[in-house]
Symmetry: C2
Subunit: 274 residues, 2 copies
Amino acid sequence: MSVFCFANNKIQPIELAGVPVTDLLVQRGYGIFDFLRVAKDKPLFVDAHLDRFFHSASVMRLNIPQTREEIKSIVKALIQKNNMAYSGIRMLIAGGDAPDGYTIETPHLIIIQAPLAEPTLVLPETGIKLATYNYQRQIPEVKTTDYLMAIWLQPWMKQQGADDILYHHNGLVSECPRSNFFLVTKDNILVTAKQNMLKGVTRKNIMQVCTENNIPFEERDVHVSEFSTAKEAFITSSTKRIIPVHQVDEIVLKPNYQDSFAKKIYDLLVALED
Amino acid sequence: MSVFCFANNKIQPIELAGVPVTDLLVQRGYGIFDFLRVAKDKPLFVDAHLDRFFHSASVMRLNIPQTREEIKSIVKALIQKNNMAYSGIRMLIAGGDAPDGYTIETPHLIIIQAPLAEPTLVLPETGIKLATYNYQRQIPEVKTTDYLMAIWLQPWMKQQGADDILYHHNGLVSECPRSNFFLVTKDNILVTAKQNMLKGVTRKNIMQVCTENNIPFEERDVHVSEFSTAKEAFITSSTKRIIPVHQVDEIVLKPNYQDSFAKKIYDLLVALED
């Protein structure tokens, strides 16, 4: 049975959907996207994702042909048609055909749905190792389709024995390729980068639950030198909510799992999805 | 009448050719390409372009499914089928379908042909204005499909009254988005950047004709402070050979057209195409 997607202005089997070879996305890598999780047929935090999607498009001067309500309707129709209660939805704006290969004229919307396992109800105890890499994403506040460096670095990452990459630029921590990064300082304050990265929807939700629950929290510059004194660290994404970080480069972090910020916040995030 | 391209392992009408929406090129901007000019049915400097194309693919760990000879045959077949004696050929490697959206498995080749006007037989007298911008392309020695910054900067460039952008990084000049940059110093030496940029085939040809004709030439770091004392400047590409530069930001360059390095080298490049 085919999986259906939205492309070329219609819902169609994904294997029939293609981006024209003359499209700016194909020829010049010019596109933006957003990704959200669907649980029990419900697209989670869809308004926050659409806010960011429209913001990304606006910064890149890509006019989205559909309204927010039209996009919501397409997402709903796809979830029903594919009968995929737990999944990920990728909304993408391609630059569109440019007769001169360079000028934005008619961007177009693509929406893809794929199965996605539901994260566990409690925070996993197993953590991951991050390897730091000096790199600054271009136009970092926008969720562009540019993952050139992330994919190129995969063999290097594996050589380090790491599970993911943590970008920093001259010592200032920004983000992982598909996640935001948080650490708990020696003074028990949760901190995360404030600029030069993509602001995740889970990151936004964490700021909300921290405020509501009086969890000490700061958005500020985070320096790589803070790893050695950090009490814990974790990464966040729409797909996984939170994944604990047990090692950054050679620095091993051994938080108290039961009393961790990560566990407490994870439970609050689960509750937020209802 | 349709224009034909090569995609999905066959020659087909371009309007039927699409890149799957699940391809790494579409979802993660992971691809490389090369572009060459065709004159009188002959693909110019095809071996130099294929050298670079295979090098780009190798650095990005994209296995090109076809051999060099197979690619040459496809290019020849397209030129005949499209009956397009003066044109541009774009060879592109898309990352291919990645079931996890991240792992390179089966890259594929796309070749597109489009009409392209033949450059004039002598160097045009009219020059262009460049606007400098502090930016370093990622993986700069590879001709990736990443032109995010170049396209994003178009309105800014027009606000500067400029015709093209010249990238520098902390004062060291690298390249224009689609061209190499050269200047002639006050001591009558032709100089161009040595690193952190894409090495063009026309740039390579210029180095060859300079050597053969005893034109003083240096590959070295070029600093933006050298514009103010430069005798001339120009950009080079497979499409246009050489375009004189008459202004960089606020600095006006007024070379003696008849005695210019650009004019002399242009004539040598024209001869090289025979």
